[in-house]
Subunit: 352 residues, 2 copies
């Protein structure tokens, strides 16, 4: 499709290219009438400002860094995409920095801040165990995204769901469907982030239903696999099957872990949900497209991503903000959980 | 867990912190015996060099930019992760720039090169239709990754599989299993990148087997959905089912599209592979964990990602290089394709 160029727009309006650029970029230094004329021409000829023009004003001194733990987790893919889009829209540069499991992201942030003259930072994943003192070394605004920071004072900005409450909501649903022996595919035993919070929600729901917390039904992630991976769900479920423990349902702490669990059950000749129910957490597209679709908690990813960047820019520009933003998540009922009311409480004696 | 610091390592070895840093960073300017002593101490006390120390040498003037089209495609997730790791290891900064479908990535690259004093560029996805002249405006080394550039002269560096040949290999396999009416879930009709090449491989395989190319079995991606998405596979398969055309197999041009196709078939009450076979392309982990697992072509993603960065740094540092690197991909036989030899050639007259 032939497109009109910025030069042609300038010619049609009888102005210079830089004036067109000012109109596009909403620059204050332009006559309002001229601006309207240019914008009208742009609309009329369907001119799409190309990235070069859009980016003319960006420079290294306007950079936002996103520090991410667990980049292989598909939960973050759409979030990063929205971050990148929103940061670019504000004419800032976007730097993505992957943090290894063993690395301390606050140390990395402090260093990056010096190297890159950052204007703001987003922490994505990880981070709930950090002390106030360390975070206070950061001099630029930052937002902690998709992780609860219940142990930090309110002055720290965060955007998240209540992982404990949402996990409890899901496990309540499973208990209400008649499940009494619900295995948990958990994060590492040392986890101090969302893995611990979702475990907490699981325990609260059991308690609410008068069910014991049975450690033999909790499969802890080992060090050799990334926590939020299908491979991990597969390995933990094989371990669960080999343990000989009885269970009618598996709650995996994320959807990718749930999908690994399903595959391990299928490979062992089990049917889902007839022989075992499975539930996840996150509400990935993947959970909906799996066969059977996975019952899960859908975090409002897009809204949380947009809120994160909005909050960060509001802080950068000194506007009034609500620093602690907790979003509601939604229970999504898929095809992977069976109602057990008519069955005996202890399962059907099925072995592995 | 309490960890030893770089200062404590220095004290234990009777050297300064900068000497420890030189040992860690493999700096030439250090006595070999001292270096070995330091590395031994590090191993003994399990010291983990933190990111701050590793990054001390990085600055904005050592930046590699990765320009990506289709960031939501999970095929790129692991690749980006490896890029980031390898670039960081070379003590360079890593900038990720998402390119919209309608944007011209070479324009963006030219602009970024000016703004950021880039040392090198990787184009990931997109790009096969670009003219030589435009790419020649770039003054820094660049590598085109995961896209064939058959129309460009050999002087342009690229790392890819042969998408035409690999697609042909897969469709040959389907034909050899007795399939005669293989529907194709294709990219947009305007696609000039890998979508077009994989279509070419499909046509060649049909020809090789004396089968007609039947346009009524080709479902083109519309403009409203991202090509490489489950949603697109779902929509295209619904369209195929509604068309009333007979087919015994679906070849989706990527694994995520194949998974969308499977879900649409399941939702219509079909079984896979009993009622219809499905094959994909890419070899994602997801294809292996789907139920049934998807027959696909596995691109050696990790090797291609590492080769891309190695090639780029070899060019930056003026070493001799092989500029066109074509990797072999592997046919992965899953559970989603049925052998049809015993069945009539035109299918079993099953409607929707």
């Amino acid at each position: 499709m032939e497109q009109i160029t910025i030069k042609e727009v300038a010619k049609l309006c009888g102005v210079g290219v830089s004036t067109v650029s000012r109109a596009i970029n909403n620059h204050p230094d332009i006559n309002e009438e001229t601006k309207q004329k240019i914008l009208e021409t742009i609309r009329k000829y369907n001119y799409v400002p190309n990235n070069s023009a859009r980016n003319l004003k960006r420079s290294d001194s306007n950079t936002i860094a996103v520090l991410i733990k667990g980049i292989s987790n598909p939960f973050f893919t759409e979030i990063i995409q929205i971050f990148e889009r929103e940061v670019t829209r504000e004419k800032y540069s976007f730097v993505l920095q992957h943090i290894e499991e063993f690395e301390d992201e606050v140390d990395v942030a402090i260093q990056l801040e010096k190297e890159k003259r950052l204007k703001g930072i987003v922490f994505l994943g990880g981070l709930s165990y950090h002390t106030e003192e360390k975070l206070k070394q950061l001099t630029v605004p930052f937002v902690i995204s998709t992780v609860d920071v219940t142990e930090l004072p309110d002055e720290f900005a965060s955007v998240t769901v209540d992982n404990t409450r949402e996990s409890q909501k899901l496990v309540n649903y499973l208990c209400d469907r008649g499940h009494r022996r619900i295995a948990l595919l958990a994060a590492s035993q040392k986890d101090e982030s969302i893995g611990k919070l979702r475990l907490g929600g699981y325990r609260r729901a059991l308690e609410e239903h008068g069910l014991p917390y049975d450690e033999s039904l909790v499969m802890w992630t080992k060090e050799d696999l990334p926590t939020y991976s299908m491979e991990n769900g597969y390995a933990l479920t094989q371990e669960l099957l080999a343990s000989g423990e009885e269970f009618t349902c598996i709650f995996a702490i994320s959807d990718v872990v749930a999908i690994g669990a399903c595959k391990a059950l299928f490979d062992a000749g089990w049917r889902i949900p007839e022989d075992c129910s499975v539930a996840g957490f996150d509400g990935l597209g993947l959970a909906a497209f799996y066969q059977p679709s996975i019952t899960t908690i859908r975090q409002p990813r897009a809204e949380m991503a947009e809120a994160t960047i909005r909050l960060l820019f509001d802080m950068i520009e000194g506007r009034e903000v609500v620093k602690r933003q907790v979003f509601d998540a939604e229970l999504v009922v898929g095809q992977s959980v069976q109602e057990l009311d008519a069955r005996p409480e202890t399962g059907d004696g099925r072995g592995e």
